[in-house]
């Protein structure tokens, strides 16, 4: 009797091993034909909800796009609002547009360095542990506080006589409403998003990468500045853009802390640019609110035009986040 031929299964060598998932078609999904009826119904419901939300988002964008294009006149972007009896006399919303940019810059200028510092401290140091825990919960709490509550708290702080130099003062009474006040409070809205994003970035760097830097004699500070933060650039950018989105979309803090005027109200007798920053003003969100049928101005056409500009800004930020992430993915990373 002859021995059957030896059948030895091929042994994969480490170098030639296929990457995981190499055999699967890209994007292939397990067929649901064999599933039970209830599972298939569940899947259909998931699909339906997904489509429903897409439809809602598309509806908002398309509706505002149509209305915006219909009512937006380029000169609105550089004409300040004016008093008048109908929409042809009331000018544009240039002050609101600039106001949005100012609060966005001020808010992010405060929130970005603070947020990065907190995230670095939490991830890289985190001692004493109790303090780190408290900081974490505090930031989560701030993220959960409605911005109208932050705004009320802001009026208390910025109306104090010690902070009178940040807004208008008249006969010892502090007005407490200014770009400084609104910018500072809006930075609190952006802060949790920045901290969360930078923390995620730092946590995604394997420990051995830090150790590689320590192991050539670098200090923790040098490692953080030259290795960790540059590596986190995409997450820093993401956090900053999400934060900006929240800032330019906020209304409550603007109404309460910026004065809800429709024009800049610079403080007299103070040099530029402090006179504007200490004065009251407006932003696009406030303008949309006031110009909507419920607001004082009641000029819905301009509300649509301003809302359209606001939407474009937010969409641009979202697109920028996408670009940053795609670029980061291309740069390569470590195996864990």
């Amino acid at each position: 009797m002859q021995d059957p031929p030896l059948t030895v299964p091929p042994v994969p060598t480490p170098g030639q091993a296929d990457p995981p998932g190499a055999h699967r078609r890209k994007g292939a999904v397990e067929g649901s034909a064999t599933w039970s009826l209830s599972d298939r119904v569940g899947l259909a419901i998931c699909w339906a909800f997904g489509l429903l939300f897409c439809a809602i988002a598309v509806a908002i964008v398309v509706y505002l796009l149509v209305q915006g294009i219909k009512f937006l006149r380029p000169e609105m972007l550089w004409t300040p609002a004016a008093a008048g009896f109908d929409e042809t006399e009331t000018g544009g919303f240039s002050d609101a547009l600039f106001g949005t940019m100012i609060v966005a810059l001020m808010g992010i200028a405060i929130a970005l360095p603070t947020g990065i510092a907190i995230a670095v401290w939490l991830v890289e140091y985190g001692r004493p542990t109790a303090l780190a825990r408290v900081t974490e919960s505090t930031i989560e709490a701030i993220a959960g506080i409605p911005s109208i509550v932050l705004a009320l708290f802001g009026t208390v702080i910025f109306s104090s006589s010690a902070l009178g130099f940040l807004s208008r003062t008249s006969e010892g009474v502090v007005f407490g409403r200014s770009f400084f006040a609104a910018g500072a409070m809006l930075s609190l809205v952006a802060l949790p998003l920045i901290v969360a994003s930078v923390r995620e970035g730092l946590n995604s760097i394997p420990r051995h990468v830090r150790e590689a830097s320590y192991a050539v004699g670098k200090t923790k500070a040098a490692t953080t500045r030259r290795i960790l933060l540059p590596t986190c650039r995409p997450q820093v950018a993401t956090g900053a853009m999400l934060g900006l989105g929240r800032i330019i979309g906020d209304t409550a803090i603007i109404v309460v802390l910026l004065g809800a005027t429709q024009n800049f109200a610079p403080v007299e007798g103070v040099g530029f640019p402090l006179d504007y920053l200490r004065g009251a003003g407006t932003t696009l969100t406030n303008f949309v609110y006031e110009a909507s049928p419920t607001g004082n101005l009641n000029q819905p056409q301009k509300a649509y035009a301003a809302a359209f500009v606001l939407l474009l800004m937010v969409l641009a930020l979202n697109a920028a986040v996408d670009v940053v992430h795609r670029r980061a993915r291309k740069a390569g990373t470590w195996s864990h």
């Binding site: 170098g15 150790e211 320590y214």
Partner: protein, 295 residues
């Protein structure tokens, strides 16, 4: 008769001609070449580090138990043993990296050129005793900047590219990488192949001009071909720096090490020349381990 469905078990090591269990002196000619890389016996050996009765505790757990070992320039020292035997902990205590990441407590003395390492500033010590890790971990910057980062002062960006160039080139050259990357020094280091990345990490560790080079399983994430390139490199480096390598791979230890220390559950079971330790182990546990009885 049933057809064989699995390859026959591979014996870890088969030595044809075991040597007697004697300490092989540095100058003695080796005739024993079975699976060994055709490397010459060390030309000289200088004692650089001295591990003296070192124990490392993690809380109640004793990870390393009263280990004494010499680390010599001109030789490759391999630490072998099963997972969790304390070899990586011992390696990391040589440049005081254990202090940074855990609550490890070290007793005993480690001396570098007759100076207790606890008396050397940690950042200075870590430039004299550099380390390469299991996973290739170049920094996310260009090949050039990976080396330049080591050469620059703490966090400074000041040093000019021109003044650093010769040193960067020589570090890459010593790691056998320069010819492959000389036209792409500005390319991102994370785009190199795994083997190239690991050699870049070795170049980075060499750029600090260390006296001792620690390697923590440097080939375990690499394919056989890259492994061979790195093994050749390690043997080439042993005359310039004292090399300590932790490895899971017994064949690797046998191929490149001059001396081998076998650790088990924190104990140093046996320390001997590679040929003696693999050829005719003195201890029962060593014999079982090198013959593949456990691991």
């Amino acid at each position: 008769m049933e057809p064989l469905t699995a390859p026959p078990p591979i014996r870890r090591l088969r030595l044809e001609d075991p040597e007697p269990a004697t300490e092989v002196t540095a100058t003695e000619q080796r005739t024993f070449t079975a699976a060994r890389r055709s490397i010459k016996a060390p030309q000289f050996s200088i004692r650089r580090m001295e591990i003296d009765e070192v124990s490392v505790h993690y809380g109640d757990k004793e990870a390393v138990k009263r280990v004494s070992l010499p680390v010599r320039q001109g030789e490759v020292l391999a630490l072998i043993g099963p997972s969790g035997c304390g070899k990586t902990t011992l390696l990391r205590s040589l440049n005081r990296l254990t202090e940074l990441t855990s609550a490890a407590r070290l007793t005993g003395r480690i001396r570098l050129d007759d100076v207790d390492i606890t008396e050397i500033e940690p950042t200075l010590l870590r430039r004299r005793v550099t380390m390469v890790f299991q996973q290739p971990n170049p920094f996310p910057m260009s090949v050039f900047d990976n080396i330049a980062y080591v050469l620059r002062e703490q966090g400074s960006r000041r040093a000019r590219k021109k003044t650093l160039e010769p040193k960067v080139h020589s570090a890459l050259d010593r790691a056998g990488l320069f010819e492959e990357v000389k036209d792409n020094l500005d390319h991102p280091a994370l785009k190199l192949s795994g083997g190239q990345q690991q050699r870049l990490c070795i170049a980075r560790a060499l750029a600090a001009e260390p006296e001792v080079l620690l390697l923590d399983e440097p080939c375990s994430a690499l394919d056989p071909k890259s492994t061979q390139v790195i093994e050749d490199l390690i043997v080439k480096l042993r005359d310039d720096v004292a090399v300590v390598i932790v490895t899971h791979n017994l064949q690797q230890a046998y191929r490149i090490a001059d001396h081998v220390a076998f650790m088990y559950l924190g104990d140093l079971v046996e320390y001997n020349s590679a040929t003696a330790l693999f050829g005719s182990p003195r201890e029962q546990r060593t014999r079982e381990y090198v013959s593949g009885a456990f691991g």
